[in-house]
Amino acid sequence: MDFGKKTVIKDLSFEVYKGEIFGFLGSNGSGKTTTIRALLGLYQPTSGDLLIDGKPFSVSSGIKLGYLPEERGLYKNESVIDVMSYFGRLKGLDVSEAKKQAMDYLDRINLSDKAKTRIDKLSSGQQQKIQLGITIMNNPELLILDEPTKGFDPVNRRLLMDIVEEHQRRGATIIFVTHQMEEVERLCDRAILLKDGVSYAYGTIADIKKKFSGASLDDIFIRVYGDENEKTKENS
């Protein structure tokens, strides 16, 4: 995948199995978000296939998708309950069900007293939790979470991981884009490491560790991406 003269994704191929949590790892700018956007049809590939259930993704394909993009954002001038209900309606819920799911989630994350508060009056962490709630409305069968714990404190990170595991138990397939290795170790069944637009390692967590002589995922990450920081320092 090219942006202007820059090739972001050169050679990438992977499969995600139904019901698993799949880790998509890479340093900043390695092409993770670009690949996800291409998978969801936001970018157009010129060759190769990005398929979900054997066909290219479209909103009319019938797949119940929950997507938390890396670029965070909500309608700032609207209240929490209105925004959540709006997205719930867009996902096919009726008015009362959308409102119910929204309130249930707000109760869970102890923000029910903020239901009528405007989004821009919440802290960024609270806004992120609201956006996560929107993502999981209507019990999606495919969850794509792009750096979901960015900006979360340890308590909220734990909350998110609990939510992810719950959805997997319900049969959802989850693509988890991150560079937090402890999350990968806890949650993911298989993973892919992306570097310079190419798959660097791919398989189960155990297989990846074996490839790197049993090192921890943190060490593997530093070994794989550590020289990028050196190159950056040299260039600057």
Partner: protein, 391 residues
């Protein structure tokens, strides 16, 4: 926001009403006031009995009278020169306040007018005062034809079009920047189709426009029906306005497709611009196309077959005003109206399609405008993929 217009209308009408009341009272008070006047008539036109009725005296000379006014011994002195056609009537008066000062001139004028009126025939007076009434009957195709009344029904669409673009143009422009500025585009585009979102926004704008129009029209109707006299509004006889179904239908069709065309354009600009502020910069360009043809309005009425009029009538961006205006005045032929409607229909479809495409491709560009090469290139982003086996 919707109610602000009728509230403002209500306030304006209230101001007019109370202002008229106060003015009426002031005029009455002025009539009843007496003040001392001296008059020098070198024109010979003033009626001496009338001068006495006004209680005016003749001074010894002009300067003496002026000095008396200066010293406060006289309220006003009027000097009528010999040749009124070449020299001014001079009014010297004691200051009585900004509003009341005008009474002196009014009295001097009335004194002269009533004096002269008495010396001429009433018919001549009416002619000179431009009070002669005319009734006019025109015919077209063997039937009575009132050009101005015929204009009203089809002309409504022209007025409506202007109001909608002026009131809602900016909203249409920024309707698609909202998703971009709030960074919700990825969540939106992975939940609903871009086309569905754009169409939904257009329908909501149309609904809002109708509500706003009702909010404008209803208070005006209420004011006209119940407070016409207090607000000094003219008495309009709307009962015999001709309704030509064909011209109304043509006007409606031109209006609808023109509205869709410009809605598509404005939405497209909003999608391509990274922020509402940048999008607003384009609005001026659009208004030039919409309102620019007004400069040639006399041509549309008097020379409908001229090259310029025909060009403006069929060029999509300028077509709405010439077509609606020509339809209103009755010089738009059936052939021209059909051609114009088809052009506007096709143009509105194209503009809405472009709007959807721009929204689709432009919505992830948060800081740059989208180049046109990207918009019209079918495959605007490239990925090189090949199969690789997992480890």
């Amino acid at each position: 926001m919707t109610l602000s217009f009728p509230i403002i209308i209500g306030m304006v009408f209230a101001i007019i009403y109370f202002s008229n009341q106060e003015t009426g009272r002031a005029v009455e008070n002025t009539k009843n006031q007496k003040f001392s006047i001296e008059v020098t008539d070198e024109s010979g036109l003033l009626n001496k009995d009338l001068i006495k009725q006004f209680g005016a005296l003749q001074p010894a000379d002009k300067q003496t009278a002026i000095d008396k006014v200066k010293n406060g011994g006289l309220d006003a002195y009027f000097y009528y020169p010999k040749d009124l056609g070449k020299k001014n009537i001079e009014v010297y008066a004691k200051d009585a306040g900004l509003f009341d000062n005008s009474r002196y001139q009014a009295v001097a004028k009335v004194l002269l007018q009533q004096s002269v009126t008495q010396t001429v025939d009433a018919q001549v007076t009416a002619i000179l005062q431009d009070k002669v009434q005319f009734s006019s009957t025109t015919y077209k195709d063997g039937k009575q034809f009132d050009g101005f009344k015929e204009l009203i029904a089809p002309g409504v669409f022209l007025v409506l079009f202007y109001i909608l673009i002026l009131v809602f143009g900016n909203q249409m422009l920024t309707s698609t920047t909202e998703e971009k500025e709030n960074r919700v585009t990825e969540m939106i585009l992975t939940t609903i189709e871009a086309r569905t979102l754009i169409i939904g926004k257009i329908f909501s704008l149309i609904a809002l426009a109708f509500v706003q129009i009702i909010a404008i029209i209803v208070p005006v109707i209420i004011a006209y029906v119940f407070f016409r006299n207090q607000l000094a509004l003219p008495n309009l006889d709307l009962s015999n306005i001709p309704l030509d179904p064909l011209r109304i239908a043509i006007g409606a069709a031109i209006f609808i497709f023109s509205f869709l065309l410009f809605t598509g354009l404005l939405v497209a600009i909003g999608a391509i611009a990274p922020t509402a502020k940048e999008a607003n910069g384009f609005f001026g360009v659009i208004t030039v196309f919409i309102f620019g043809p007004l400069w040639a309005v006399t041509l549309f009425v008097s020379m409908p077959d001229s090259v310029l009029v025909r060009f403006l009538s069929f060029f999509p961006l300028t077509a709405p005003i010439p077509l609606m205006l020509r339809n209103a005045v009755g010089n738009l032929t059936l052939t021209d109206s059909l051609i114009g409607i088809i052009i506007l229909l096709i143009s509105s479809i194209i503009s809405l399609s472009i709007a959807v495409r721009l929204f689709r491709y432009g919505i992830l560009e948060y800081s740059n405008r989208i180049p046109f090469s990207v918009i019209f290139n079918k495959k605007s982003k490239n990925i090189n993929f090949s199969k690789q086996k997992p480890i």
